[in-house]
Symmetry: C2
Amino acid sequence: MSALSGDTRLPRYQRLAEALRQEVVERRWKPGDRLPSENDIAALYGVATGTARQALVQLVKEGLLKREHGRGTFVRRPNFDQSLFRFFRFWAKDGVRSVPESRILRRVMAAPPGHVARSLRIEDGGGAINMSRLRLIDGEPVVAEEIWLPLDLMEKFLDVAEADIGPLLYPVYDEVCGQTVARAEESLTVESSAPETARLLRLEAGAPIIVIDRLARGYDDTPLEWRRSRGAADRFHYHTEIR
Amino acid sequence: MSALSGDTRLPRYQRLAEALRQEVVERRWKPGDRLPSENDIAALYGVATGTARQALVQLVKEGLLKREHGRGTFVRRPNFDQSLFRFFRFWAKDGVRSVPESRILRRVMAAPPGHVARSLRIEDGGGAINMSRLRLIDGEPVVAEEIWLPLDLMEKFLDVAEADIGPLLYPVYDEVCGQTVARAEESLTVESSAPETARLLRLEAGAPIIVIDRLARGYDDTPLEWRRSRGAADRFHYHTEIR
DNA sequence: TAACTATACTTCTATATAGAACTAAAGATG
DNA sequence: CATCTTTAGTTCTATATAGAAGTATAGTTA
């Protein structure tokens, strides 16, 4: 019977939603876990079943939870590390969209440039981890990535053996550092490739490239990763529905 | 007491939602109109108020309706003609994002090319309206558009005086042709500008440009407009949130 | 063993009811 | 006339209850 706190005069189902959100943020409920049933939650927090239901439905809409008829309610396992590739018409020769391989070129501690420090909310003098990756499909380089992580939250990432880092980084952040990437903002522009990038991607210098800046955040909006990806513009393709 | 039809064994609230959707599709309820209250709808269709509510909420989620506390439920007035410009960092010199002016260069009946005919579901030998527009901000050309409309649905558009066509086309389609654009799919790529496009946009020939193909559809998915827009890539900027 | 059955869980659908919160307009008051 | 009050409409919140429908497992039967 944990009474609902946050006692502003918000509707009860919203305060309940906030309480449940906190359970996930503070990792008492982890991705993949099953929550108590809606009846149990209602009893636990002292509200009617319908009210508990309304809170749960809202959190599903936010993408935090997932419900399955007859099975239960689960903490959603975020999964959009590879979603970068929705911007590109890259797929393997057999036509299947697979996760591309990746080759880590550099992984060091470093002082972040100003705009990265601001995005990641790193204090003056605070450290960061800097990484450079090349992603390949069928051995062909398609995207070059520059990645920055806040040192205080992600320090343990430096201890992971390179062999243990697969093409997907977010599961590693989750397991090693206890930080779950829940959402991200992305920003796309077109530029001319600098000589170094052109060499990495095997393009002519000055060829147009798509630059994607991404800021990944945790459940409570803490910035967890800043990433800049570059790929050949002639392979760029984005499809969306608007209403 | 219009009984719910579509008698598959779908849940009642979904069949009700479908019935209400039809009211909008068949223009008995027009954009801006207020619907009967949730109690009245429940009585009309012979369901409980909560069930009517559930149907209405779903249609709000789909973007078809809009509800206002204490005022009523309304058919949403779609409004994304200018949304093209979310892809570009174009705004007037005063910093305000305004709707750009537009200059119609051509408006004629013509036979559509194959891929357009397929997109618009135009039968062999079926006609189309072809239009070419240039859009400007502060007198500067920023986007060139090539537009195709299916003749059978949009014939009356040819009769509209050019002076009566503002920068926004969709309200004209709605008022003159009785066709409401409810949603659209867009597809973005990067290309090198052809000489003619470069001249229109005052770029060097071969400069990279963003090409946006859009297919606009009505409430019942009927294709209403095919549009290809071209703008300078160095002004391109797209921002999105993913989860 | 293999296939069916019963059972105990879960979420989902549907109903009914009561009052709060908000909006708009008609009516009363100064 | 201007301002406040009442009133009738709307959606929104919250509760309670009953049963349908889906899932997983333990138990039974052939």
